[in-house]
Amino acid sequence: MNHLFPILTALAYLLSFGLYVRFLATGKKLTGRLGTLLLGLGLVAHYFALLERSRGLHTVPYHDLYGSMSLFGWLLALTYLGLELYHRQRSVGAFVLPFVLVFFLAAHLAPADRLSPPAAHGVMFAFHVTLSILAYAAFALSFVLSLIFLGEERLLRSHKLGNMVWRLPPLELLERMSQSGVLVGLVSIAIGTVLGFVWVDRLSSEYSFYDPKYLITLLVLALYVLYFRLARTTGWRGARASKLCIFNFVIVVLSFTVVNLYLSHSHRYF
């Protein structure tokens, strides 16, 4: 298997991370723009790395744990780039890129097992999986943004302003970015879940409706709808909403780990 694209991806993400950190420290616009450019290049290289891996193993990215992790990293980077461009805010790149890097490196440094050919589940299944992973990536991004919000809010309330606070986005922008991430996640998980149910309905002879994964997915959906509502209109806006967003992501991680590994019989890595 050709290692060119994984190496290019890792280099681009690493450089992008370094530039985002430097941008956070110095506030130089050119450094931030270069960080964004490198992230874009990393995304392109990552796409080809995923494509190459799937072709090499004759599988789809989400067929195994490592592939799912890499796809998760790619979608996280993509969602972040979208939010960065939409909100014109680069300061949180330094906090998001480490997650992208960890998922990418963990996936691509792991030994490639010989995989059984994936079942021909069709396009609807592919959309179901991809949209679900996109939703989790968007929720992960909101989680990071909520953590930054809480940190910055604490510094502002305690009047202990270091140099960092001046480089971070304003609190309300962090809230809006987090809500944007949750909105992307909600739309993705809603469509993905509907597609999943339709797909199961068609193959009801092979798959059961009684999977704990369905319950926890609906719980995640309900919790994020609640967050979205509370964060925008009520007395919960601010730190309380951010704490709820963090709590919600703990449930997402639970869904990813305990439920997938031990409880679900039809979901493995997503």
Binding site: L161, P170, L171, E172, R240
Partner: protein, 425 residues
């Protein structure tokens, strides 16, 4: 003609002490009157801002002797125990007092290095003291020099080209919470100089809506009209606090005007929308407990010191140039002071020598019986001419030669050399 300065500022005293030693306009007037009536100072000027309370004066006797009396006066005037006050007070005399004032007006001694409003506050303090007859030739000259220093520093150095102030530091902090302020609403409590500065900063950032609340409706109307805002009646807290994102308070009040229960009620009414409160008043206008409320951010003048420090670093490079201007004007003032004192000294010397001459001639001519009255008168005239020549020449040079005046800075030493204490002018 000595100068004394006794005061405290943000470096020497915490806000809890500064707010107790701050002067209202009425107190400034009363303090100046009492200081002169008690004979502690002949000329006096009180400079009272959020960050400093300073009394400048010209004492009848030695400045060192009058300083303890001035400290005691401040302690009694503000009913602050001397032991609390003494640790915060600084005393400067003559050259150091002049240098201190010039640094203050240059913005070199401010919490926010190079801040703009201190010059206005020095100007206002001088105008007030001058109008009430509290100043005399020395303080007039001193404060005119201070205003000149402030103006030069702001026009000739980078320290003044981009004015930064406590107000703008607070506005920048508001941007940390809300981002751009062009869709935000602000309420300004108080319509004084600092409020005007804040409103100006907010308008520069395109604040969407501006409300002004002030005890004096006329002044509020004036400020609102000047910056395109609306006036809210004093004390209508529920209505006033419902919409603003930023509240700036700089009113002269003994007790906090924004109490916890008022803000608590407002936060409930506004659904906990974030509220940034900038308390620029001394004494503080906002109950410190308000900062404990959810989504409420309260910053008083001391809290802004973090921002001050950061800005200070960026402006440090301009300090030597500003200091050069201060030094130049300190020398200029001391030279003027020396010339005034030297002319006085020469006059005193002339009087003394005339007296000496009379008794000297009497004593020396007593044995010279052969001299006629006309001869004696002639000798006296010759001696007068010589004395005039000796004194008149230097006196004229002192009046005309600036450099010479600069060189002779320790007039006191000359006075001590030629005149006894009894004979000092």
């Amino acid at each position: 003609m000595e100068i004394v300065l006794v005061g405290l500022n943000h470096r020497t005293a915490p806000v809890e002490v500064r707010e107790r030693v701050s002067f209202t306009t009425e107190q400034v007037k009363r303090a100046a009157e009492e200081l002169r009536a008690r004979g502690i100072l002949e000329e006096t000027l009180v400079l009272s801002t959020c960050n400093r309370s300073e009394v400048y004066g010209v004492p009848p006797e030695s400045s060192h002797e009058c300083a303890p009396g001035l400290s005691t006066f401040l302690s009694e005037f503000h009913s602050v125990r001397p032991d609390i006050l003494s640790v915060s007070l600084y005393h400067h005399y003559d050259q150091e007092a002049v240098r201190h004032l010039f640094r203050v007006s240059a913005g070199l001694d401010s919490m926010l290095l190079g801040e703009a409003e201190i010059l206005g506050q020095v100007r206002e303090a001088y105008r007030f003291a001058h109008e009430h007859g509290a100043t005399g030739p020395v303080l007039n000259r001193l404060f005119q020099g201070a205003l000149e220093v402030g103006k030069r520093v702001r026009t000739e150095t980078e320290l003044g080209t981009r004015p930064m102030s406590v107000a703008s530091a607070g506005v920048k902090l508001a941007e940390r919470i809300f981002g751009k302020l062009n869709e935000r609403k602000a309420l300004v409590l108080g319509a004084g100089t600092i409020s005007e500065q804040v409103v100006s900063q907010l308008r520069d950032r395109g604040i969407a809506q501006l409300h002004v609340m002030n005890r004096s409706r006329d002044r509020a109307d004036e400020l609102a009209k000047q910056f395109g805002g609306k006036v809210v009646g004093w004390g209508e807290w529920d209505a006033a606090l419902q919409s603003p994102d930023v509240v700036v308070s700089s009113v002269s009040a003994e007790e906090p005007v924004l109490r916890r229960e008022i803000v608590e009620r407002a936060m409930a009414a506004r659904g906990n929308r974030a509220l940034f409160l900038m308390d620029l008043g001394v004494p503080r206008n906002i109950d410190p407990n308000v900062g404990e409320l959810y989504n409420v951010y309260v910053y008083n003048t001391d809290d802004l010191s973090e921002i001050v420090q950061q800005n200070r670093n960026a402006r440090e490079s301009e300090v030597p140039r500003a200091q050069g201007i201060v030094d130049e004007h300190v020398t200029k003032f001391l030279s003027w002071q020396a010339s005034v004192e030297l002319v006085g000294l020469v006059d005193a010397l002339r009087v003394k020598m005339r007296e000496e001459r009379a008794s000297f001639i009497r004593a020396r001519m007593e044995p010279m019986k052969h001299l006629t009255e006309a001869d004696r008168a002639h000798v006296e005239k010759l001696m007068d001419e010589m004395l005039e020549k000796l004194l008149l020449g230097p006196a004229e040079r002192l009046r005309g030669e600036k450099e010479l005046r600069r060189k002779i800075q320790n007039v006191e030493a000359l006075r001590d050399l030629f005149l006894s204490n009894r004979e000092k002018p």
